[in-house]
């Protein structure tokens, strides 16, 4: 259940108070359901444990939520193929192709005909809230699904102001200084991956992976004024990840040292195993998020009356 990518957002103490004892009832009112015959997609909450269990899981100040739903698979090429057949038949019958308005109407007709037969792909996306420190952590590297989860949360709670990160210290400048020999935060070391860009519009991009980041070829790029926009890091031999210019965490991996304590103990059920993994993940990520907050000077939104 470990998250692979992290999209990070912040919320204030006022917003945190909205997550209260009532949460389960509110989530239940927005439970995920399958797509209807004429629906392209649905979104709602599912149990993080799977099945019909509770819709959220709380450990201390951490609350885990899972957004579920379905997306209909209806490729544009399939719709166009059926539409073109119909258009050709009409053109042959009348001796001229149908006009724009009729084409649109026919397309609607084709969509209505195909949609009930389309396959539905299940969608799942997990995220957790750290109520104490005001972090919303979502298991995706792309903006759109992350925002979809927050929109659903906002709909569920009526209002829930969440803000994207706005670092005071430029991540690019810091990554570049780290790679040029500057001091990294305590316990952090360089990983084996980086991306460098010429900051000018349409400038050159260099990507290195599985490479030694202290090599001379890399220094050559830094000498030419390129800025580091993505950097692989390892934290205290427990975690490895890549940070990008928007502070999205990618390729997050819990290294052996972090997971071996967990493997050593036996648990009775899958749910207990899941809960233990979630607790371990939150506790491992909390110091990392605190370090990000300190290094890039990320402030928590102020509470408003």
């Amino acid at each position: 259940m470990y998250f692979r990518n992290l999209s990070l957002f912040r919320f204030s103490t006022t917003a945190a108070k909205q997550i209260d004892g009532d949460l389960e009832t509110r989530l239940a009112a927005h439970r995920a359901r399958p797509c209807g015959p004429f629906e392209m997609a649905t979104r709602g909450w599912v149990s993080p444990f799977g099945g019909e269990q509770a819709l959220h899981h709380g450990v201390g100040n951490y609350t885990l939520l899972t957004l579920g739903g379905e997306d209909k698979l209806l490729p544009a090429a399939c719709v166009n193929a059926v539409l073109n057949e119909k258009l050709a038949a009409i053109a042959a019958e009348r001796g001229k192709p149908p006009g724009g308005r009729e084409r649109r109407r026919l397309k609607e007709e084709v969509l209505n005909e195909l949609m009930p037969r389309a396959l539905a792909r299940p969608h799942r996306l997990a995220g957790y809230l750290d109520l104490d420190r005001g972090w919303a952590v979502i298991d995706t590297a792309s903006k759109k699904p992350a925002e979809a989860l927050l929109t659903e949360l906002r709909n569920t709670l009526e209002t829930f102001p969440v803000f994207p990160l706005d670092p005071e210290e430029s991540p690019q400048a810091l990554y570049t200084s780290w790679l040029s020999g500057g001091e990294l935060p305590e316990g952090w070391v360089l990983g084996d991956e980086c991306e460098m860009r010429d900051p000018q519009p349409k400038g050159a991009i260099v990507r290195l992976s599985r490479s030694d980041l202290s090599g001379s070829e890399l220094q050559e790029h830094l000498k030419s004024g390129k800025q580091v926009t993505r950097l692989g890091l390892v934290v205290e031999d427990r975690l490895s990840f890549t940070l990008d210019e928007n502070l999205v965490v990618r390729k997050l991996r819990f290294l052996e040292q972090a997971t071996e304590e967990l493997e050593a103990t036996e648990r009775d059920s899958a749910a207990a195993e899941f809960a233990a993994r979630f607790a371990l993940m939150c506790l491992s990520l909390t110091p990392i998020l605190a370090q990000l907050e300190k290094t890039f000077r990320l402030s928590r939104p102020k509470a408003r009356a």
Binding site: P199, Q219, P301
Partner: protein, 256 residues
């Protein structure tokens, strides 16, 4: 604009001065036009204009161009792209600082009280481009801190805060605010006197309350930044020189 449609021409003015002019094919241009913009003199031509026509047009307008260049020079505006190692100056927060070049393998920029110090490997053929890259990154880093400080200052007075900031060279605007509360600012504001950045941040943050430029909006601007009229006038009268100075140092290509 497609780079393949751009070309540089060298023109000799009546007094023997040589000026480089950018010629650019513009798909909607009806006639030839010569303008003095952020990146220096530029000729826009309609599609299919013969090069000899462009040259004749430039020869005809050379006296105007020379007059314009002299006017800008008198106003203290520099036009030539800086060459590393040569005597140069950089406009920084409203003050013209002499540039001190230092030899450094990894490029860096530092602003001191009485000079702008730029470290670069001076003998590299691409030293000029390196300076552009490193200066752009430096301006953005410094501006990010300054904007965060100003936003923190205005937020309690306004009761609303911006969601995030984006800093890049802008062609004609100084800043804008998206419906989601994301503020975009021109990097050139860091070269203008500090009041310019203060005013633009205050202006954009007031849009969090009033989305237009009506009397209610200006009242709000005045409530948090009383001297706004003075700075607004400065920006409209002298702002183009600041934008030109940024373009001179970080290149004429705008946006990201």
């Amino acid at each position: 604009m497609d780079a393949s449609q751009q070309n540089w021409l060298e023109l000799e003015t009546p007094t023997g001065r040589r000026v480089r002019v950018l010629t650019q094919v513009h798909p909607r241009a009806q006639r030839l036009s010569l303008t003095m913009g952020v990146g220096g003199p530029r000729v826009s031509t309609p599609r299919g204009t013969h090069p000899s026509q462009v040259k004749a047009f430039l020869r005809e307008n050379a006296p105007w161009l020379e007059r314009k260049l002299r006017e800008l020079e008198r106003a203290g505006q520099r036009l030539a792209t800086p060459t590393p190692g040569r005597r140069e100056s950089l406009l920084w927060r409203g003050e013209r600082l002499p540039v001190r070049w230092e030899m450094a393998s990894l490029p860096w920029v530092r602003i001191e009280d009485d000079a702008a110090v730029i470290g670069v490997q001076l003998d590299r053929p691409d030293a000029r481009q390196i300076v552009q890259r490193v200066l752009r990154a430096y301006v953005a880093t410094q501006m990010k801190r300054e904007v965060a400080r100003l936003a923190r200052e205005f937020e309690p007075q306004l009761g609303r805060g911006i969601v995030s900031t984006r800093l890049l060279p802008l062609k004609s605007l100084w800043g804008s605010l998206s419906v989601r509360g994301r503020m975009t600012l021109d990097l050139a504001l860091m070269l203008a006197p500090p009041t310019a950045l203060e005013y633009v941040v205050a202006h954009e943050m007031c849009h969090l309350w009033v989305r237009n430029h009506g009397p209610r909006f200006w009242q709000r601007v005045e409530s948090i930044y009383p001297d706004y009229l003075e700075t607004r006038t400065w920006l409209s009268q002298r702002g183009h020189a600041v934008k030109a100075e940024l373009a001179r140092w970080v290149g004429t290509e705008l946006g990201t």
